[in-house]
Point group: C2
Chain length 279, copies 2
């Protein structure tokens, strides 16, 4: 899915919601069997009730890898449950030297030699340009580059000041704009530090920002919209646990539907407000 299609989708659904699909037995509805079939049923139900209001889905590969050797084929099965008109993000946080990065790119962006259902892959910036470029060689595919993450550990390095005055995450945003463009590079910026999210938006006025950390992790959708959403600067607000585990019993489907509808109503409001403004 290219940038134009994504912007059109956001306009049509009046939503910039990205639903995180992180299946975790520890938080799973009691009423479902704790098996791959149970997870498939759960995620299928979640997709059914969220898809009217979601423009993107983010699958965190950690939760699939933890399912064992079948986790990988199961991951691909879940991508097949998603309709063709949503952006699919593999939140795999990969990155390696060029020859290995090319293999990861193959693993995610191709299936049986053809373009896969994955539109975007999260990638670490730490190893620099030649570790990211191989992912940018696929027509219509995106790198979601980790800039500022939502966790407390972001302070250890990402917020450190460099000698020229910028913080590391700002350096990542500035430097990496030479590697890709607004059609194949988006940034991951956590919702938990809205004042810094605003700085990323200033440095990358037109890039899509994928913003996790809303809800369970403490980020606020209103603060995210205020800091980062502009008429020409799209946001994908990623919400996982507050939707998936809105209820832990057999009302999970209704609870997820209600959570998503609330989010979308607010998104419709801020999108209407933003339209026509450019700052």
């Amino acid at each position: 899915m290219n940038r134009t299609q994504l912007l059109e989708l956001i306009r049509r659904k009046k939503s910039f919601l990205c639903v995180g699909l992180d299946p975790d037995y520890n938080q799973f509805p009691q009423s479902l069997p704790h098996t791959l079939d149970g997870i498939r049923q759960f995620l299928s139900d979640i997709i059914e009730v969220t898809v009217p209001h979601a423009v993107a889905y983010k699958l965190n590969t950690a939760f699939f890898e933890a399912l064992g050797p079948d986790g990988w084929s199961f991951f691909w099965q879940i991508t097949e449950l998603l309709p063709p008109d949503v952006l699919v993000i593999a939140d795999a946080k990969r990155g390696d030297i060029g020859s290995s990065a090319a293999k990861y790119a193959e693993a995610f962006f191709l299936r049986n030699g053809k373009p896969s259902r994955i539109d975007a892959l999260t990638v670490f910036p730490y190893m620099g340009q030649d570790s990211v470029s191989p992912f940018l060689q696929y027509e219509g595919k995106w790198v979601a580059l980790l800039a500022l993450t939502s966790n407390s550990g972001a302070e250890d390095f990402q917020l450190k000041h460099l000698s020229r005055g910028t913080m590391l995450f700002e350096e990542v945003v500035l430097t990496s704009q030479q590697w890709g463009n607004i059609d194949n590079l988006m940034y991951v910026v956590g919702a938990t530090r809205p004042e810094l999210l605003r700085r990323v938006r200033a440095l990358a006025p037109q890039h899509v920002l994928l913003v996790p950390g809303i809800g369970h992790q403490g980020g606020s959708l209103a603060a995210v919209a205020e800091a980062a959403l502009t008429a020409s600067g799209p946001v994908l607000a990623a919400v996982s646990r507050s939707i998936l585990y809105a209820s832990s019993d057999n009302t999970y489907k209704d609870a997820a539907a209600a959570a998503v509808q609330n989010l979308q109503e607010y998104m419709k409001f801020v999108l209407n407000k933003t339209e026509g403004t450019d700052s």
Copy 2:
């Protein structure tokens, strides 16, 4: 495998060689079928001729993920070909917020609820302490934290000076020593910049340093030993392509055996020289 066992193994084999198992059809011996069975035969042959002189094996997951959904179970099959007395490193370069990192740790360090054959996992430092700590909770398992990588892109961020004067990779080594200890934390430092490798050894005098980039990538074993190997500061020198693809025809087994023997003879020489010295 704990630190004492690893040091004993290095002394016994007079080697600090870590063989990288990166199966790549593009560089594969012509004489073998380009199938999983072909790869299994190839890696089994490589292990057979290298194991007398290797103390560790490093499996780069990129090459296994690129094999498709069966790549994961195939990865575990290959670990089962390795004898019990070598260190097994999954070069997967993972890292994520705490709850996801815990899932990755499960995926690599457990199998069917029991400790897996993986002794160490490469992890990105970018997301800070809470993204690394979950991997340090497993008795006898190691984090191999990426400090300074061997590629050109290391210059983009890792070599940037912070305002307090250190470079980012030095800050990673200094800060992360608070998270783990010499028994569960090693550092990945590329062979291609020996003068910086020396700085890491000075900052972490007793930590195991896993050093890739020797051979094909241009790093020299002599320079690595000179910069980083001390009597109390162990090194694991990772060599992949110069062994695996020492020959591209059906002489690959002999060629790999010869390459490994050469490496071990030099390692024996420098280990003898180092013994008894401490700097």
